[in-house]
Amino acid sequence: MARVHLDDVTKRYEDIVAVDEMNLEIRDGEFVCLVGPSGCGKSTTMETIAGLTKPTEGTVTIGETDVTNLPPKDRGVSMVFQNIALFPHMNVYENISFGLRLRKFDTDEIDRRVEQASDVVQLEGMLDREPSELSGGQQQRVAIARAIVRKPDVFLMDEPLANLDAKLRVHMRTELQRLHKQLDTTIIYVTHDQAEAMTMSDRIAVINAGELQQIDPPLVCYNEPKNRFVAGFIGSPSMNFVEGNLTDDGLTTDHFDLEFDSDGLEPIDDDVTMGIRPEDISLEREADSATSTSETIEARTDVLEPMGDEIFIYLSLDGASSEMMTSNEASTASNQLLMSVDPDTEVGEDESVSVVLDRSKVHLFETASGEAITHGIADLSDATPTASVAPEAESGGQHE
């Protein structure tokens, strides 16, 4: 058990910067997921911690030791690989005990530890088998046993479940959580699957283009994304974004306006991006009166995706509100919104609908930098209640 600390770690490959001044503080016993799209540098970050690649600049500290220049074997880390990487020329027992044998443990101790580790991952009675005789899930369990048998300070997992089928993946996910509770070891877990990150980790580190975007507990990343990238990456299906302009009276977009008191928000009179998650848009007729709803937005349903437990509706903003747009402002930006509704909602394709947004779930981002301005405009809008009612009535009339 140990904390892991990355200090200004940069990794450059010739002209590509894989990891850019990464500062990461992972606490003792914490389960941290590194997530990001393919090629964002999360695996390189992991390899830097493991010692498989040396950072171009910066230092890596595990526990109290600066391990930047130590080889992987002296770092007290163990790793589970995406491609499992069991040694094909050794049986399960030899695979699990490989590290212990290299460290010249005595045979009794090795036997005892291998048995214990194989117990934890439920591999009893398979120690004599060859890796090729095992199923994918069993191989993965052997790899995990090999990693825990040495009782490492830090446990690194590089997309360990990526090669398993969907059902097994969900099963192994709970197994890993159980394992983390049982071992209480620091676990750093790389994945591009945000569902894995959301469900398993204490904190999520979202990485894009080699830079750390945000490191926070899963729900904080979900509800209060620091910037537009995190907002779009966390959550599935992802957040809707609409380009607009922040004025004194609120937000103006090509398709609709939201009125609120923008006092204290920066930058006024500048391009901002509004973000709203699909579940925070509702049909006006079904809107929950308890939530502070926004002005009505006219839209036309485009494609419906019934998922069983909910329906995803693609809304086209152009058709319903084209006369409200000035033609030269016809945006290249999103004119589509995705919303999710209850499965028993009666709605058809290519139908005019009025939708409202949940004001408390509206996110505003600075368009230029992508930085978050505010999460939720419910409190702000209370300041100017009269202003917000008027356009609602107006657009409601138009709908009729």
Binding site: K73, M79, F81, Q82, L86, P88, H89, F98, L102, R103
Partner: protein, 332 residues
């Protein structure tokens, strides 16, 4: 279906025997399989005869006493007298005489030691080189690989004179500048004078084979070994080499056979054809030939004795060599 076979029937009547046979082979699956099988046996028999006949001839030569090695004709009915080697006696004593006339076992020993030492050195160096070329990215890799392969295209004779000069203990000069570099020890008549050039000459082939094999081992396995507690070198010897066993065996056997059979360099580096001066196996075989006599039966017997260790090694390693030469693929 019935109409078709009817027409074949009538056609059969009008065709000659060869035409009928080819027609049958083309149309009938069973006949075709029979033909393929027959062709396979013919081809296999051809290769067996061409490779095994020399051994048969050696055996006949060895068993036939030297005084009767003049008349190899056999009379075959219709053809008359045909030259074909058949044993003219059964002189097993030749295999004993081989060791009595010259210390042939010492020559075999010399070749064995030279071959083993060279193989070990080549495998060690080629493994390191193969690891570097196969698994690491660095500028100039292709060019260096090309340079190493170019060495193997040089005729060995090109190196002979300068090496002989140096191994005699003469000082080595930079050409044209006459600056003395160093004075090597006198290595002629020692295994060093043979193992060094052999290693250099056979290294490129092994590097090439091992580079191909090592490059196919998934990176994850090496990373896993390193995280588990090996160094890069440890990962090479504990994981990469065992997984490349067919390739390593192929490189080893090819090197071993080449050195075991080598005569050109060693006959010159051993100043006289004596086992004490590290003259090799072939030198031993040739020593049954004197200025006036040639004991063909003893030379043949010595050749057979010399081939035996090779035969055993190849049979043992055969499975791995075959897979090493043909695939070299490894599943992750």
């Amino acid at each position: 279906m019935g109409a078709a076979s009817d027409s074949t029937q009538t056609a059969d009547d009008e065709m000659g025997p060869l035409e009928r046979w080819t027609h049958g082979v083309v149309n009938d699956q069973e006949k075709r399989n029979r033909l393929y099988k027959a062709l396979f046996y013919v081809a296999a028999a051809f290769f067996l005869v061409t490779t095994l006949f020399p051994f048969y001839w050696l055996l006949v030569l060895a068993l036939t006493p030297s005084v009767r090695q003049a008349d190899w004709n056999v009379s075959i009915p219709l053809l008359g007298e045909v030259p074909f080697p058949t044993p003219q006696g059964f002189n097993v004593y030749a295999f004993v005489e081989v060791f009595q006339q010259v210390p042939f076992h010492l020559y075999v020993f010399n070749s064995f030691v030279l071959a083993t030492a060279t193989t070990v050195i080549v495998l060690l160096l080629a493994s390191l080189a193969g690891y570097v070329f196969g698994r690491l990215e660095f500028p100039g890799r292709g060019l260096m690989m090309l340079a190493i392969l170019a060495v193997s295209y040089f005729p060995p004779a090109a190196f002979l004179i300068p090496l002989y000069d140096a191994f005699l203990g003469n000082a080595v000069y930079i050409p044209f500048l006459d600056i003395e570099l160093f004075e090597p020890p006198r290595l002629v008549n020692t295994p060093g004078s043979m193992i060094m050039p052999f290693s250099a000459l056979f290294l490129p082939l092994s590097i090439f084979i091992l580079t191909t094999f090592y490059s196919q081992i998934p990176d994850g396995l090496e990373d896993a070994a390193r995280v588990e507690g090996t160094t890069r070198l440890g990962a090479l010897f504990r994981v990469i080499m065992p997984l490349s066993a067919p390739g390593v065996a192929t490189a080893a056997v090819l090197t071993f056979i080449a050195v075991y059979n080598e005569y050109f360099f060693s006959s010159i580096m051993a100043l006289q054809n004596q086992p004490e001066q590290w003259s090799p196996l072939v030198g031993g075989i040739l020593s049954y030939q004197t200025q006036y006599t040639t004991d063909f039966n003893l030379m043949a017997a010595a050749s057979i004795v010399g081939v035996l260790p090779m035969l055993i090694i190849v049979v043992v390693a055969q499975e791995k060599i075959v897979s090493g030469l043909t695939d070299g693929a490894l599943k992750e």
